[in-house]
């Protein structure tokens, strides 16, 4: 999981709507005052709340973009260049929050990873703690990735290595290339299918959020199950992504 893209924040879900604008005293809107337009001090909210969205995964990117542009017009430092120094600072912070939030939410994978992060799933830790458990109990660690996928990844990597060797010695093995191409097509299909699978889990997650919004209690187990499924898909996807990239690199120039 690329922790690099998700900045860590206090996941306060809602902000205090009762606060008022520091400048004109009117009721404040999240990032800027609706009455006088002044930029407000940043509040620690998650990216979904920043855009006034519920933490659902199916979202309309075109609407998000429009919202992003509109907020940029209010918050960007260039447009607040003549404001007081405090305001300029807030504008810088608010605007970088806005950019981070937009960059994260517009990308379906980053959005999913971010949600998992908000929900406290620590992907980096998973494998390590499973290993520690295996060490303590002496049991064989259950691999997070299905063995047959590992097998396939390994096999294909062997073939790629062969291809690279051949390229170095100037040989050409059309049969090998053809076979790798075939694998590649299959992998790309799988990659697509994984995305669709992920989307189906989005649906169940969103359904769960909707139930919560309607005031129904959602059992923790159900929540966890929905999250686990997404983690699993993302893990498998990492392998396929690497593999497709490597295949492309190895094939480059060999045709």
């Amino acid at each position: 999981m690329s922790k690099s893209t998700v900045s860590t924040i206090a996941a306060a879900r809602t902000h205090d709507a009762a606060e008022s604008c520091w400048s004109c005293g009117a009721m404040r809107v999240a990032q800027f005052c609706g009455a006088c337009g002044k930029v407000q001090p940043p509040a620690p909210v998650d990216y979904f709340s920043f855009f006034g969205l519920p933490p659902k995964l199916n979202l309309d990117v075109a609407t998000l973009e429009k919202e992003f542009y509109e907020l940029s017009r209010k918050l960007h430092p260039d447009l607040n260049a003549r404001a007081g120094s405090k305001e300029q600072e807030w504008s810088l912070e608010q605007s970088s929050r806005l950019n981070d939030a937009y960059r994260t939410l517009k990308d379906p994978i980053k959005r999913t990873q971010y949600l998992l992060h908000l929900e406290g799933v620590q992907l980096e830790e998973q494998s390590k703690s499973a290993t520690e458990k295996a060490r303590a109990t002496g049991e064989v660690k259950k691999q997070i990735v299905p063995p047959d996928l590992l097998e396939e990844v390994f096999e294909l990597n062997m073939q790629l290595e062969e291809l690279r060797m051949e390229k170095k010695t100037g040989e050409d093995d059309p049969a090998l290339i053809a076979e790798i191409e075939k694998h590649k097509a299959a992998l790309e299909q799988k990659y697509e299918a994984l995305f669709q699978e992920l989307q189906s889990y989005w649906k169940s997650w969103d359904g769960l959020i909707e139930r919560e919004q309607a005031g129904q209690a959602v059992p923790a187990g159900e929540r966890k199950q929905a999250l686990d499924k997404m983690v699993d898909v993302l893990n498998r996807r990492n392998y396929i992504r690497n593999l497709v990239r490597d295949v492309n690199e190895a094939l480059e120039g060999s045709s």
């Binding site: 999981m1 992907l123 980096e124 998973q126 494998s127 390590k128 290993t131 295996a134 060490r135 002496g138 064989v140 660690k141 691999q143 997070i144 990735v145 063995p147 996928l149 590992l150 097998e151 990844v153 390994f154 990597n157 062997m158 893990n235 498998r236 990492n238 392998y239 396929i240 992504r241 690497n242 593999l243």
Partner: protein, 137 residues
């Protein structure tokens, strides 16, 4: 500006790269992956049936420099150890030896996993004992 010298040494001169016959009853094979990055590692051991000493170890890793160095080091370490001794190797030992940075800890986890998986595979073969059924794979 880059990896520690030990990592680079293992990376440039990996020890024990290769493979052994995985259907052999004395060979245990561990194939593991790091979901964080999508890397794979295969580590094999050949165990003396009478002494339980690991006589031979081979690996093949498709992954980052740290993963290659970790698995290379792992094969060096397990050789000459008994199976039970080998099970005491912890990923943090590898981290210390190679001075891996925090972001590369999972690479060492992968190596420990591979040792455990290989030993697990070998043990399974010993349990299903005598008639060594040629496995499906």
């Amino acid at each position: 500006m880059s990896y520690s010298d030990k990592v680079i040494d293992h990376y440039n001169h990996p020890r024990n790269v290769g493979s052994m016959d995985k259907s052999s009853p004395d060979v245990g094979t561990g194939l593991v992956g790091a979901p964080e990055c999508g890397d794979v590692m295969k580590l094999q051991i050949k165990v003396n049936r009478d002494t339980n000493v690991i006589e031979e170890a081979k690996f093949k890793t498709f992954g980052c420099g740290s993963a290659i160095a970790s698995s290379s080091l792992a094969t060096e370490w397990v050789k000459g150890k008994t199976v039970d001794e080998a099970l005491t190797i912890k990923n943090m030992d590898i981290v210390k030896e190679l001075s891996l940075p925090p972001v590369k800890i999972h690479c060492s986890v992968l190596a420990e996993d591979a040792i455990r998986a290989a030993i697990g595979d070998w043990k399974k073969k010993q349990e299903s004992a005598k008639p060594v059924a040629a496995e499906a794979k």
